[in-house]
Amino acid sequence: MCEDCGCALPKASPDPQVVDVHARLLAANDRAARHNRMHFDDHGVLAVNLMSAPGSGKTALLEATADALGRDIRMGVLVGDLATENDAARIRAHGVPAVQITTGGACHLDADMVHHALHEMPLDSLDVLFIENVGNLVCPASFDLGQHRNVALLSFTEGDDKPAKYPVLFRGADLVLLTKNDLAPYLGDFDPARAERCVRELANGAPVRALSARSGSNLQSWLDWVRAQLAAVRSRRHAHSHHHSHPHTHDHGETVAR
């Protein structure tokens, strides 16, 4: 019975006072994430978290998305990096609002950082908010930001068995995009079927799709997925609609950059 409750551990010092807690370690981040999700739902905005190794093409995909999305879907972007405002500037150049989160040293975004950045994002004039996480296949997977969907990018220049090497992140993906497929003729050893098998072995049935932001190859399937998720999130919101206002009681003096 007691494999996971700790009571099989040897007793501490004599007559310890035992305080039982049984709470998730990330409960505070989870609360902040739920608060963010409520903001998104209140505005009917789909929030999508993009994760990948550095250089897999997150920013390039968002640039191509900004160019390709019609006037009927308005997008905004939060970008996380340790340093520089380069990625937010790239995306703004395509005419969509983008806010940079510079973490200083933190290797992942968390819900507080996203909440802070949301104050600068005009949610009431958006349909979709993309959150470009810090390039990292390990740490971002553990931190809920309040997003509705997770998208993992894996490029043709990387190993096709990466999903097996970074199981937590790929297990939680609602969509896996195999990016830079325009380079396939020059590479030869990336097997999309193997990447998909690795994802399935994580008990994840998410679609695995190859595309190229640069050439536009199969970009439409990504845009169709975004549209479908937006419709799904909005119809769920309608089904559960209960309007409530909540007081904003958090202290704006808290710093979230680390």
Binding site: P16, V19, A28, V138, S142, A164, P167, C198
Partner: protein
């Protein structure tokens, strides 16, 4: 490493849980499953750094771990699995859901009676 962020969150929870209790924080019991995406060794090392100057500065971290198990949605069997191969051991299906092993929990805190400590000194 994100284990340091997790330790900071842990120590905030320990602080809150022990506020108003007499005694010194002696042991912090956590459960970290193999599917939680947190390395126990890294967590221990991060804890040694993070506990400085907190109520837990003399405390030990005790890490329990439940095995990774999945329940098969196709045949109903429960299997023990590895973190990157969550297939059903009986029928081989990938349509499984996690039954245990992804926990990241603060189980509890053990406090030492300060009076006992003083008399033993």
């Amino acid at each position: 490493m994100h284990e340091l962020s997790i330790c900071q969150a842990l120590l905030e929870q320990v602080e809150a849980a022990t506020r108003g209790h007499a005694g010194r924080v002696d042991r912090i019991r956590v459960s970290v499953g193999p599917l939680a995406g947190v390395d126990a060794g890294q967590l221990e090392r991060a804890f040694e750094l993070a506990r400085e100057g907190t109520v837990a500065r003399h405390a030990r971290l005790a890490i329990a771990s439940a095995p990774a198990r999945v329940l098969c949605r196709d045949c109903g069997a429960q299997s023990e699995v590895s973190p990157n191969r969550l297939l059903c051991a009986r029928c081989g299906s990938w349509r499984t859901r996690i039954a245990s092993g992804d926990e990241l929990l603060l189980l509890g805190v053990d406090l030492t009676d300060e009076r006992v400590e003083a008399s033993a000194a």
